[in-house]
Symmetry: C2
Subunit: 416 residues, 2 copies
């Protein structure tokens, strides 16, 4: 039987506990949605004021040089690279995850057109994050070159899905709904043996679990900075390309920032060397600058300590739900096995939407995902073991009292 | 002979003079680069703090609903639409100009595939803004469907360029270098008569000159918000699609935000109705929110008053350069005719780069564009006639004294 005192004892031993003071969290909130929008670093407000007041207001156009705006995508990319097993010069922060996925997939297909021209199948998961599938669909529809998307159910039965027709395998490292995680090295090796290029979506992995892109033999990766990396709402995303592919091909969104000589104003496109060719148009500087605040905090922490605490919080959440809410119809859909899960835990409940609305009204902020999924993000930099205890106690109270049946929790809002 | 006193007299009569107090401009600067990065509205700093501290920090994920983040692209699009002759529901603020151009061009080509399937030529100007040409190149290369780009020199000899092979005509309304402006209605009518769809880049037009997209019979338009609309460095761009085309076709960058039911998490893409289908991935909210500050100021002003003052400032600049710097090798490359120019004036000078560096060091901030072009943006909301006088007086002093020959003005920086 786990008590709140046990949780307090675990907090006292927590080497990461001090990081919480670097984040601005409102009073009365237990924030379990850092996998959707990470919390705000205190430093982000100051940085934002600096960019707006000094760099934009006073520096004006001169800040492209003087404040280093032009170097931001590569400089932040190099910092981010340290968190995902990438070397300097392999990552840039730019655009959105959806757009970066489009670039990487187009580049991968072009490589395969050269190396294995008959291959016309892209494999992904039916339960992949929908926008990933939409972007694949959009590219295939645009190309009209006979590509098809093969969707496999749940965790991939690789030996069935990967045959000699498969050009690209596109997977989320950690599933947005269930939290299930792939063994990136094993899957990449299997794909490579099949002549298939891998493209990994790290949206729910970067900053949440140790990622080793180069060591795992991945080919392409994209991801976002506003979840576990705490970059701010809609902050620019990232793209990584394995060194072997970087100078080989263009990508189709060939805007000025990816040009070899962006200020020579030449009418013909000439791709920059290396990862910079994956840049396209002018980036939202004020949003991008804040990404550095979240990255700097993550780089102070040991990723293995983050992982250990994340797993401990997940185990605690799962155990407490069984212990406190055992008589309620909550079904864990996240793998219990450590190697097979990321940093959030999810439960199905027949009235999941209403229960989550009630939790949020009580200050326990997780989120709801169709169908019937209560999702709880575990962010070791600003959550304690006691937070988990208090969150589950609130959940128990809501379920025991059936307060989720109150009319105000039944109304659906546009965004959940 | 025009004197500084004449300029002061003109300022005293200027009905737009009061707008300057809404902008934060550093002391000692005459800012003639608002066509590259607009000045900061005072209100942008407060708005930015609000988004970062309250909406992100306190509201966290709830702000997608509570702070109206989800509605921002359409809400700002409707405000912006009032400045470019668009009706509500026809414009969204999103992504970058380069990306929006890619979407619009792909959509236009798809329409032509249905209506005039043999057409495989895209026409643009050799002197169009290079990123526009790069994006066309990227899309053609991706499609591998036999498209070619026909580049015409200088102002378009339409009757030669528009033949029965031309699917799409892509032009900048105002040329980024020379400031030359097309008659949008005349060109659109000529294109339409030829069965050619028009795609207008309004980067140097929106907020600078009256634009009447619907009345001109344009088909597609894109543009940026960080120049004459004062949205902040790299603030998100916009896209407009004529009502006749909006529900007809998809666009290929089909991310979650353009889905009919973005939170239903369906594996198949179903485009939203209307302009919202031109949205793609998650937007940089903190940058996007500041766009509203610039738009709100522009909407307080009469666009025709802005245009009248812009032309007066341009005439003044041209006249003063002739009067004060007549013996120096400055060549006006902007059309003198009002109907044929936008809101900046440009001069060639054999040592244009060095002269501009010297001007900037003296607090007169214009910019340099290859080859040899001194470019001066005229932004009626925060420039006075006396500013123009003082800027030209500084230019005269630099040219008379040849101070641009000093070694510190010879060094080229990465970004100009």
């Amino acid at each position: 039987m786990i008590t709140r005192a046990h949780c307090q004892a675990a907090d006292a031993l927590d080497t990461l506990a001090g990081f919480r003071q670097q984040f601005a969290l409102p009073p009365g909130v237990i924030y379990l949605d850092g996998n959707s929008l990470g919390a705000r670093p205190h430093s982000a407000l100051l940085r934002s004021q600096q960019v707006v007041a000094q760099e934009w207001g006073d520096g004006l156009i001169r800040s492209w040089n003087d404040a280093g705006w032009f170097d931001l995508p590569a400089r932040l990319g190099d910092k981010l690279g340290q968190l995902i097993g990438a070397a300097p010069g392999e990552t840039v922060v730019t655009d959105t995850t959806s757009l970066n996925l489009f670039k990487a997939l187009a580049a991968a297909l072009r490589i395969q057109q050269q190396d294995r021209p008959a291959r016309r199948v892209i494999v992904s998961e039916r339960d992949n994050f929908p926008t990933d599938l939409y972007m694949i669909e959009g590219l295939m529809d645009l190309l009209q070159q006979g590509y098809s998307l093969r969707l496999v159910d749940e965790q991939l039965p690789l030996d069935v899905a990967l045959d000699g027709d498969v050009a690209v395998l596109l997977l989320s490292h950690v599933n947005y709904r269930t939290g299930a995680m792939y063994d990136m090295a094993a899957v990449s090796a299997r794909a490579r043996a099949n002549g298939t290029l891998t493209l990994w979506d790290l949206a729910h992995a970067a900053g949440a679990v140790p990622v080793t892109l180069n060591a795992s033999g991945a080919d392409f990766a994209v991801g976002c900075t506003y979840k576990y990396l705490n970059g701010g709402p809609g902050s620019p995303a990232f793209i990584w390309v394995a060194p072997a592919h970087q100078d080989r091909f263009w990508q189709p969104l060939s805007g000025w920032w990816g040009h070899q000589q962006p200020f020579a104003m030449q009418p013909a496109y000439q791709a920059a060397s290396g990862i910079r060719r994956f840049l396209c148009g002018t980036q939202p500087i004020s949003a991008m600058a804040m990404v550095e605040c979240g990255l700097d905090i993550a780089l102070q922490a040991d990723m293995h300590a983050i992982r250990a605490k994340s797993l401990a919080l997940g185990d605690l959440f799962i155990t407490l739900v069984a212990q406190q809410c055992g008589q309620h119809p909550l079904t864990l859909i996240t793998p219990r096995e450590h190697a097979a899960r990321g940093s959030h835990v999810s439960f199905c409940h027949p009235h999941g939407y209403e229960v989550m609305q009630t939790l949020i009204a009580r200050g326990v902020i997780g989120d709801y995902r169709e169908p019937a999924v209560l999702r709880f993000g575990l962010t070791p930099l600003y959550l304690s073991h006691t937070d988990i205890w208090d969150a589950v106690a609130t959940l128990q109270d809501i379920l025991d009292s059936e307060s989720w049946r109150q009319p105000q929790y039944q109304q659906r809002t546009a965004v959940t």
